[in-house]
Amino acid sequence: MGYARFIAGKTASYVLALLAAVSLLYVGIYPTLQKVIQASAVEAASEFQRNLARGHPGLSLAQMASEVATYKAAYLGAFGFDQPFPVKFALQMANLFEFHLGSSFFIQAPDGSKQVSAIVAAYLPNTILLFTTGTLLVVAVGGVIGLLAARSAGGKLDRVVPVVAIVHSSVPSWWIGFIFIAYFAYSLNVLPSGGISSVPPPAGTLPAFADFLRHLTLPLFSFFIVNFGGFAYVTRSLAVSTMGEDFVTTARARGMTEGRVLFKHVLRTASPSIVTQSILAVAGSLGGAIVTEVVFRWPGLGFLTFEAIIQNDLPVIIGSTFILTIILFMGLYIGELVYGVLDPRIKTGDL
């Protein structure tokens, strides 16, 4: 009962927040967005004209021009071009949320389509794959290291974790990627330098999968190596503060093993805060992750954005920013749901 109410509340709050964030983006990019839509209209109109000429060879030039003009006006009308700002805003936001992101200037999807939604859809899975795997790895390994450091507070591991965290907070993950490429790919020549598969990809499902894993290793490792230290440090701090609580002392007095105390009592109690920290970590590491893609030529949204910046392909930049916003919101929302499961106060309706 308590959980259902919690979910309903969080869902409403996140949906509204997403609307607010996209509105913010909309206002920030308003001038370019209008230019982009106009350019898209011109592009769409010329395609319409080609099709018209092919399908109706009998039309006169004047008839053709009037048809094209009507088409273009209708296209712009769909984006509320001749309307006052509130209507225009509503129409264009609706178009965004229906993924009508217009067509790109230059960049094409692998199937040759120039629809921004198709392009983004082609690159998105690779980002989700890299980012989700990386985050899970950071949370799992960083969390365990943090707990172990907390167990032996003042010990060797406990002294190393802050040092690793300090170094990690001052290194860009994409730069580490550069160094890994130079070392593992060009010096040792053991791993591919970038991309997502060999050219041509090896035949057969299993060799292709192994090839994919080899390409995944370095980007994943760079993301992991720069992010796990900070997370371990945070987990350690939370666990240490929980370990001072009376119920932990009680558990110890009852003769429980240290490992059992740590994983059953301490982790159980600290887990909601750890999830909150994971949420912050996810939000903070997305930027680094998408730039890591650039260095490894990993065909995800970060790489797409970089290509779009180079080619000045504004529709693609806007489209991928919009999709990244949705992705981040979903990531954080899932984090909240996990938090709801872990925090016992929510189930009982105390919170």
Binding site: S13, I29, A153, P162, I166, S170, V171, G288, V291
Partner: protein, 455 residues
């Protein structure tokens, strides 16, 4: 009285942290270096950096000079100056000659030979005669050279002269020559095997004769025997010295880092602190506002916004700060909530003290140390964000950034070619600039945060 005593306690405790003090010392050194760079750099130097043609005399993609100490034979550039012109003409036109010598003891040839003629008047022809230790010479003639222009192995007149020399020595017809072939010919043992022979060691002479119209006045000319290593950090593929760029990038990194951090932390702590202090519906509304920005992908947003806002140091710092304050707001709100549960806050309320006063006396004083610690701790994050954007190609015009240098490195496939110095030093500088802030921040954080005592 009490807060100032507490402040002194903080200071004493901070000074006890060795890493914190080390960070502070490094920080002072960084800012001093930065101040020196700002004082000695002029806008024209930045423009020169952005103009690849201005660096033609330097070796391209050359490793640092100190690789020579590690068993690599990478000669450094030899700069010759032709200043003492002897007048050969007695009557009509102007004819001058000058020469300079240098000794070459390397096992490899130079990478290029470049001449920059500087003169007043008109020159019909300039003959550059290159004499090797064994006495044979190569003549390269340039007709109507332009004062201040750059003539090297890639210019057609040099190619022509060297190709003739190769033909004379090897007896084979040469249709086109590459720069490596040209320098091999300039430095190799004469004979049929010229292009594949070992380098002649000894004294080389460069002599120049110019023939021009009456009134010709040549001034000091630069002749570069371009090497294969350069400076402390090498050069990029257009010959720009990395050490210069790395140094010039320091002020910008510190500025964007400090400015962004101060704005974001102060704003975030005020927002979150106030939200926790107010409580109830206002707290829920403000927390929701925090969520909106938290869940906004900052980097992608900034990229999108950068097409609508003219980027300057200030605007970029404000945009970055405006998208990264939520983390500080969330933590400050937690601190604020814990302060709120203290008895002195309740006492204030019972005594009818105004809300504003309670907030300034109890909350702000306790949030201030947290703010200082976060500011120091987060500068590195802002430096990295600034450099990351520059790496993506989003940076104000007319600044030199490490991210920009790394962007060029990836565009020119520095990793593929093994030009490690181009990638290593700018990246290391990001760490060097960030680390002291993190060290100081961690030390402050440990002093300021409600302490977690080890068992």
């Amino acid at each position: 009285m009490e807060p100032s005593g507490r402040r002194r306690g903080y200071l004493r405790e901070f000074l006890r942290s060795r890493s914190g003090v080390a960070g502070l010392v490094l920080l002072v050194a960084l800012f001093a270096t930065s101040a020196f760079v700002v004082a000695t750099t002029s806008p024209s130097q930045v423009q020169r950096w952005q103009n690849p043609a201005a660096w033609e005399g330097n070796p391209q993609a050359a490793p640092p000079a100190w690789v020579n100490y590690f068993g690599v034979d990478a000669p450094q550039t030899v700069q010759l100056s032709l200043g003492r012109w002897s007048n050969l003409s007695s009557g009509a036109g102007g004819a001058f000659s000058a020469s300079a010598s240098f000794s070459w003891e390397h096992g490899v040839p130079a990478s290029d030979l470049a001449v920059v003629p500087v003169f007043k008047g008109q020159v019909y022809e300039m003959d550059v005669t290159w004499t090797k230790p064994d006495g044979s010479s190569v003549v390269m003639s340039v007709s109507s050279p332009v004062s201040g222009s750059f003539y090297d192995a890639t210019s057609s007149s040099f190619k022509q002269g060297i190709a003739q020399f190769i033909q004379a020595q090897t007896g084979a017809y040469v249709s086109s020559v590459t720069t490596p072939q040209e320098v091999a010919a300039l430095f190799g043992q004469d004979g049929r095997d010229l292009l594949n022979s070992s380098v002649q060691r000894g004294t080389y002479t460069v002599a120049v004769e110019v023939l021009g119209a009456r009134g010709l006045a040549p001034s000091s000319w630069e002749v570069s025997v371009v090497g294969d290593s350069y400076g402390t950090m090498g050069t990029d593929s257009s010959g720009r010295p990395i050490d210069l760029g790395v140094l010039a990038g320091l002020p910008w990194a510190l500025e964007i880092g400090s400015l962004g951090s101060v704005v974001a932390v102060v704003g975030g702590v005020l927002w979150g602190g106030l939200s926790g202090f107010l409580g109830g519906a206002k707290d829920r509304a403000m927390s929701w506002g925090t969520l909106v920005i938290l869940a906004t992908p900052g980097l992608a947003f900034i990229v999108a916004l950068s097409y609508n806002v003219r980027l300057t140091l200030l605007s970029e710092a404000l945009i970055i700060a405006g998208l990264s304050w939520p983390v500080f707001a969330i933590i400050a709100r937690t601190v604020s909530l814990s302060i709120k549960s203290q008895t002195y806050v309740e006492a204030d309320r019972a005594m009818g003290v105004s809300q504003l006063r309670t907030f300034t006396t109890h909350f702000l004083t306790r949030l201030t140390p947290v703010t200082v610690a976060f500011t120091a701790l987060s500068v590195s994050g802002f430096i990295i964000t600034g450099e990351t954007l520059a790496f993506l190609g989003i940076e104000p015009a007319n600044v030199i950034t490490w991210g920009g240098i790394l962007n060029a490195a990836i565009s020119f496939d520095a990793s593929v070619h093994g030009w490690w110095w181009w990638v290593l030093f700018p990246g290391v500088m990001i760490i060097v600039a960030s680390l002291p802030f993190v060290l100081v921040g961690f030390a402050l954080d440990r002093v300021v945060a409600p302490r977690v005592s080890a068992r």
